[in-house]
Structures are given as C-alpha cells and as structure tokens.
C-alpha cells in the first residue's frame, strides 16, 4: 500500500478518534454544572428611621382606602417610602381561592389604593405578586386582587416557573431557597398582610406573609416555623408593612371559609417595624404578643421591637 493511500484511508478514522478523545478528556471529571438561576436582592428596601414619626400607626374607618390614607399620613405619608422612578413590589396575601368577605386574603380595596398611592408618589413600576397556596389564577381572581391591582395600573405577576431563582437568605434555618424574582428585583417592598388565626403560629400577619415570596417545598418549613419566619423577616426587611385589619379571620385560619369566622374591625396599621406591626395585629386575635413565639423570637433577633407602645405608636381615630 502506498503511503498516500494509507493516509487517505486512515485519515477520517483518526480524525473521528481524535474528536472522541478530545471530547472525553475535556468533559472528564468536571463538577456537575449548576444550571440554576441565582438571584440577589437588588436593593435594601428599608427607609432610614425618622424620629418625627411613630413606628406604628393605626387608623379606623369603614372605608378601607380612607383608613389606609390616614394611617399612612401618620407615619410620614407615601412620599417617605416611595420616590420618583422607583420600582415597587406590593405583596398582599393572596394565598387562597377565597372571596374578599371570607377574610383569607388581603382586602382588594387596600391593594388598589396602595398601588394608586405608589404611582402618585412617582413610582416607575408597581408589581403585585404572591406565591399562592391554591391555584394562583383562581386565588387572584376570586380574591378580587387581580382586578383591583390591574385597574389601579399595577402589573400582576402570577408565579411562573421561569421567574423563580435561588437566593441565599442567610438565615439559620432558611439558607439557600427558591424565591420569586419579583420580590428581590425591586427598589421598594410593601408588605400587605391580613390578620389571621393560625394554629401553629397562633397568628399569621406580616412576617408570616413573607412565606409567599418563597417557592420550593415550603410545607417543610413548618417544622422550624418560628425560626424560618424570623429568618425570612430579617432577610426581607420591607419598606413598609401595611396590615389589613378591615376583616379579621379569628378562627379556622389561615383559610377560613365561613363568614362566621370573620370579624369586621375596619382598621389599617402602617409600620416601618414588622415586629411592632405583628405585635399590634396579634392583639386583634386576643393574643398577648409576648406569648407568640415568632414575634418574641423576632424581637430577640433584633428584627424589630415587640414593645410598640414604647417605640412610638399612634392611633388615628
């Protein structure tokens, strides 16, 4: 056989062998590649403390929007929390496929008013979202929150698979966890919980509402529920907590289902201190905040202050 002939005949085989070998060597023993989206919090949501204002205000009015405006004025007005051009995310509780009267979700009238106020203060973008327990489409529809938020001009983001990413929450129980992108990629975070009874934590108000930013299998968190709530609150540190006390779900929480489980209180709380907001809110359920595990734990962890009276509380009639 001629040399030339030999090369011609073996050339393709050698080339294929070379490619195979190079591929094998290149990919040999690599670490498994992490194909996860990793998110980070794009801003600190909090505003600096201002001694001119109380840390917690409460207003009563049969008109939820009026109550919100009064409570908000008392704590410095929307201009203190939202500045021109900022991206605001509003996190109501839209956990369940329940109607507004059943008190399991945040009052839609408060959500729409909050969105309007944010735009009034110059917000560039207002997003309303929640990782619902029940089907999000149904929950956002029946709660009336989608309609309320959209009519006020906000963008409603139902949780979608591609919008989750992992984040280091830096807690002692909650470390790496899936979070919905909208809740960390914003300038301001307004937490809008509703006051509800809960058998494990006794109450679910502001800090517990933050569970709704999480994806993943959060049903396991119940095993360390108090610490995980505190971890989450310490991570999130919302700009403002607006507590819906217009209807209080005082039993069969957190879903309720019967109008007999709901008491009308016509109250809205505004707070820059989520522990204070929860402490005041817990009293609507007849609870002593000193005996509510996660509130006490959060106070000790320095997330906020349980003794809201001492820290500055104002009731607006």
């Amino acid at each position: 056989m001629e040399r030339r002939d030999f090369l011609k005949k073996t050339g393709p085989a050698v080339a294929l062998a070379a490619v195979s070998g190079t591929t094998g060597l290149t990919f040999h023993n690599r670490e498994p590649t992490a194909r996860r989206t990793v998110l980070s919090k794009t801003a600190s949501f909090e505003v600096p403390p201002d001694s001119n204002f109380p840390i917690l205000t409460s207003a009563r009015n049969e008109d939820p929007a009026a109550a919100l405006n009064a409570a908000l004025e008392g704590i410095g007005g929307i201009g203190r929390f939202v500045k021109t051009g900022e991206r605001v995310v509003v996190k109501p509780n839209v956990g369940w496929d329940r109607s507004p009267a059943q008190g399991a979700n945040t009052n839609p009238a408060l959500v729409s008013e909050m969105v309007r106020l944010c735009f009034g203060a110059g917000a560039a973008q207002v997003t309303v979202s929640d990782v619902s327990c029940n089907d999000p489409r149904r929950s956002f529809l029946r709660s009336g929150v989608r309609e309320a938020a959209e009519s006020a001009g906000a963008e409603v983001k139902l949780p979608a698979e591609e919008d989750y990413g992992e984040i280091d929450l830096g807690g002692s129980v909650l470390r790496e966890w899936e979070v919905l992108r909208h809740f960390v990629e914003a300038d301001r975070f307004i937490n809008m919980p509703v006051i509800k009874h809960h058998n494990l934590t006794l109450c679910t108000i502001g800090m517990k509402n933050l569970y709704g930013i999480l994806g993943g299998r959060r049903n396991r968190l119940h095993q360390e529920i108090e610490q995980s709530i505190v971890d989450l609150a310490a991570f999130t540190r919302p700009t403002l907590t607006v507590v819906d006390g217009t209807r209080v779900l005082f039993r069969s929480g957190p879903q309720g289902g019967s109008l007999d489980d709901v008491r009308i209180e016509n109250t809205v709380l505004c707070s820059t201190d989520q522990v204070a907001a929860d402490a005041r809110g817990a009293e609507f359920l007849g609870l002593d905040p000193d005996r509510v595990g996660h509130i006490v734990l959060a106070d000790r962890a320095g997330v906020g202050t349980l003794d809201y009276q001492a820290a500055g509380y104002k009731e607006i009639i």
Partner: protein, 553 residues
C-alpha cells in the same frame, strides 16, 4: 359546481373542522376571566365539549346504556340524520380524526407497497373492513348491559383524550427541554432564537400550568400506532376499526345518494381506486359499497373519462362486468348476533368475581358530582375533558383502579392535585353527564345541603411528623378548606430522641366534616408516600361506600 371545486370544498371542510377540534381541546383549560362580585361560579367562556356532543356513537351508546340523551348530545342528530340520506359524509368531510388519518396516509412513501399495483390492490374492499362492525356491535351489546365501552375507540373521544392527555403535555415538555438545551449551549444566537420560539408558543398555545397525566404512555402508544398504520394501509383505522364509521355505515343502509358508474365511458385507468379513501370499490367492474364510502369525491374528481358520478338516486344496474353498488353492510346476521352477544357477555365477565362495589380500588376517587359507579360507567366516554380542565391537575386516567371495564375513566390523585372546593369545571365540560354539573352551592354546601364529598382522609400515624417523630407540622390542618375544619388538633406530649418531653399538636380527621378534597394529602410534606391520604369511602355518590352510621350535614 365542478367536481374539483367540490373536492376542494371537502378539503377546506376537513381543515376547518380539524382546527376547530384542536382549538376546542386547547381551550379546555382554566383560561377564564371572572369577577367574583358578579358570579359565584367560574364558567368557561367557550362550550369546549361541543365537538363531542355531535358524535352520534356517543349519543347512541349513552342512550342505550343510561336510557337518556344528555343535554347537548341531541346535536348528534345533525350528523346522523343527513347520514341516513347521504352516507358517511362525516368520515370524509368532518371527522378530525379521519382527517388526521387522511393526512397520515397521503404523504408520499418510498415503499413499493404504497405504490402502483400493490396500492391498487390494498385499496380494494377487504374482509378486514368488517372488523369495525364487530366492534360496533360488541360495544352496543356492552352498552345494553350498562357498560359504555365505545369511548375507548370512538374517534372523537379518542382524539380528545390522546391530544389532551398525551400529545399536548409531551409537546410542552419537549418545548421546555429544547429551549433549556438551546440556552445551555451558551451560544447567544441559538439561545435567543430558541427563547423567541418558546415565547411565541407560550403566548399562543402553552397553558399557564401544563398538566401531566398518570400512565398516559398507553394512550400515546395507541394513538401513535393508529397513525402509523396509515403508512401501511390507507386509513386503516377508518376502514377497519372505527366503531363510529361502522355505525354511520349501518345508518347509510337506505341512503339515496351514491355513486353511479358508466361502464361505457370507463377507460380502465384505475385512478379512482388509487385515490380511494374508504376502500369501497369505486372502480368499474367491482361492487361499490355505500357503507364504506367516505364521500371524499376523489374517485369522481380523478376520473379522466367522466365515468363516475355521485348523485341522488343513482342508477346502479347489475351487469356481469359491472356489478351494482350496494348499501348493504357486508356482515352476516350471524356475526351481528355473535358480536352483540360477546358484548353482552363481556359485562358480567368484567363484573364477576368480587361484588362490583367491592372490587374497585379504595383510591378510585371520582370527580365531584360523579354519578354512582354503575351509572358513571353507563356514561363516561373517557374523553379526558375533565382531566384537561381541572386547574389543579387533580384528575387522571385510571389504568386498573376501576377494573378493566373502567380503563381511562377519570379519578383524582390528590398527591398530584387536590379538588379545589369552589371549582365546578369538570362537571361543566362533561359531555355525557357522567360528572353532573354542580352549582357552587351544591359543591361547597350550605345550611341545607351537605357539601359534595369525594371520600375521606386518613392519617398514617407511622409517617406523620407529630405522631411519629415528635416534630411540629400540621400543614394538613392549615390546608383543610372546610370551616369548621375537618382536621382537628390535640396538643399532646411526645418523647423525642433524647428522651425529652415535647408538646406537639397531633392532627386527626373528623369524617363527618371531611369532603375528601385531598388538600391535606397534597400539602403533606412527607413527599413520597403521604402521611395523610384520601380513600373513596364517604363519597356522596354512593349509598354503600360509607363509614358513618349517621353523617352530620
């Protein structure tokens, strides 16, 4: 109108009805806008099951089995009555599955069996085309004894089921996987194009949440097999298997519209036979069969000599060279009786052995509003519409949970999805009333009526965290949607691994309050085998499958 125009009309009709059908299946999903201030029930904006209501086989079989014709099934007369006069126009012009088989048969093949003489021979009427009549009479026999087996092979439910539970979820998974693969190449243009394609699909067809169904491999394989058989025999399904085609063939017995052949004009080119869809011998010299003809008009349109004509009151003279056409079905009386008898015998065979009510799986949790099991099996055509519309992906096709008889009927797998208490969509889309349409009040109950119950929850105390592991949990109680809650708690002392006394709340079920919705099972963190699970006992639809002597309302 020329025959070519008529053939083009037929093609347009096929395309139109095919896409309407697919669109309806796509729209059988939670895609609604609703204002709770105005209505208490979420209603679908389109009558998504309407195509199934035009199915004469579904109508006849549910009528025979249940003794009534449910709601929209009266529409089936719109197909049946013209068939009596015209023949099987439905198969050639309307049936979306027929159209799919038509297309699958039509594109070119390199195999010599699909060309020339071999194709010509395979397009002649064949004895295997009788099988569909045997199937039709078999399912008729079964229906007479209250077992609706037609749905397994009825083309419209079969297509809805196959597309809805197998094809669309597979496409969705495929689209996701390919997009992810393209993104992971790290090559920007490829990733961008793939992302763009995905976004278009996402807006156009992909649902907010793609449901995936238990055990659909069999459904998918059957569907693919039927389609692939077209590559061997033109419209094998339509010619040989389809019980709806058989029924329409039988009902064409007295048709006044048919094929007239002009022996003198025929030049013997064989083009009619080459293009024949039904395998009904349009060619001069063979006996044309009304009951096999799909009225596709290909024979007349491809005849260069003008020897073939479809017309009312065709003259079909019998000569030695050119036997007359016939509207008779090529099945002997003996075979009809035999097939019917086989269907009749199959039902007691299905149900023999253990008592009918006992044999079912404890996990056969039927959708809310389902009729008692025997009545359910008189009606369910296994179209899968309820499974597709369920917003929680709770409903799945059975395999053997309701016996061989109930293959692919719907049941709930709470581990995958629970029944949303306020939802009544499955009853809204059921075309045959196997799942009755419920009002909001009937579903959730009010002061006078108990809620609709699908079963009862039970705890597996060996796996439950507070019971077995001294660990707090009670997610089940949190998720229990009834008020007062059917899951109640007692604080008790547990001993942990170090011997310490720990106070934990331990969940229990009150069967009088439990509706069997499965929310607890769904939410239970013991992921693989749940520590709380639902079985069918206590279901509203059964008088015997109960556990309490008296049940509070």
């Amino acid at each position: 109108m020329t025959i070519r125009t008529a053939r083009n009309l037929r093609r347009a009709s096929q395309v139109t009805f095919f896409f309407i059908f697919i669109w309806l299946v796509l729209k059988t999903t939670f895609d609604v806008d609703f204002n709770p201030a105005e209505v208490s029930e979420i209603q679908l904006p389109y009558p998504v099951s309407i195509a199934l209501e035009f199915d004469p086989l579904t109508a006849l079989m549910t009528l025979l089995a249940s003794g009534s014709l449910y709601k929209g099934l009266l529409w089936s007369l719109v197909i049946l009555v013209p068939t009596i006069f015209m023949g099987r126009f439905f198969c050639g012009w309307i049936c979306p599955f027929g159209t799919l088989n038509h297309w699958m048969s039509a594109f070119k093949s390199e195999r010599k069996e699909r060309k020339g003489k071999r194709l010509l021979d395979s397009n002649r009427y064949k004895p295997y085309q009788r099988i569909k009549y045997y199937i039709f009479f078999f399912v008729t026999g079964a229906a007479l004894l209250g077992s609706l087996q037609a749905g397994l092979l009825d083309p419209l439910p079969l297509l809805a089921r196959s597309i809805g539970t197998a094809v669309l979820p597979t496409l969705h998974t495929g689209a996701l996987a390919m997009t992810a693969a393209a993104r992971n190449t790290g090559i920007t243009p490829i990733a961008a194009v793939a992302g763009g394609i995905y976004d278009v699909l996402d807006v156009a067809v992909l649902p907010y949440r793609q449901a995936h169904f238990h055990g659909v491999l069999l459904i998918g394989v059957l569907f693919a097999s039927i389609l692939l058989l077209n590559r061997v025999f033109t419209r094998f399904w339509c010619r040989g298997i389809c019980p709806l085609g058989a029924m329409l063939g039988v009902f064409s017995r007295f048709a006044i519209f048919g094929l007239q052949k002009d022996e003198e004009a025929c030049g013997g080119c064989n083009k009619c036979l080459l293009n024949c869809q039904g395998g009904d011998n349009p060619i001069v010299g063979s006996k044309w069969r009304q009951s096999e003809c799909h009225l596709c008009l290909n024979c007349e349109a491809s005849c260069p000599d003008g020897a073939l004509h479809f017309r009312f009151f065709p003259q079909q003279e019998d000569t030695r060279e050119n036997p007359a056409g016939t509207a008779e079905v090529d099945v002997t009386r003996r075979k009809v009786v035999g097939s019917l008898a086989a269907g009749v015998v199959a039902v007691p065979l299905f149900r023999s052995g253990d008592a009918f009510e006992v044999k079912r799986s404890a996990f056969l949790i039927r959708p809310p509003g389902s009729l008692p099991e025997n009545n359910f099996l008189e009606r369910c055509i296994r179209c899968g519409q309820c499974m597709r519309v369920c917003p929680n992906n709770a409903l799945h096709p059975t395999i053997l949970e309701s016996g061989f008889e109930g293959l692919w009927t719907p049941y709930m797998i709470p581990k995958i999805g629970y029944c949303e208490p306020t939802c009544t969509l499955c009853g809204q889309v059921c075309p045959t009333g196997a799942i009755q349409e419920l009002s909001f009040e009937e579903k959730v109950g009010d002061d006078d009526t108990p809620p609709m119950r699908m079963g009862t929850a039970f705890f597996d105390r060996g796996r439950c965290l507070p019971w077995a592991m001294a660990t707090p949990c009670i997610v089940c109680e949190e998720w229990c949607p009834v008020s007062p809650k059917a899951i109640y708690l007692r604080e008790e002392t547990a001993i942990d691994i170090d011997g310490n006394e720990v106070r934990v709340q331990r969940p229990r079920v009150d069967p009088a309050l439990c509706t069997g919705c499965g929310a607890c099972e769904y939410a239970c963190p013991v992921f693989d085998k749940k520590a709380v699970y639902v079985t069918s006992v206590g279901e509203s639809r059964s008088e015997t499958n109960q556990l309490l002597l008296e049940r509070a309302t």
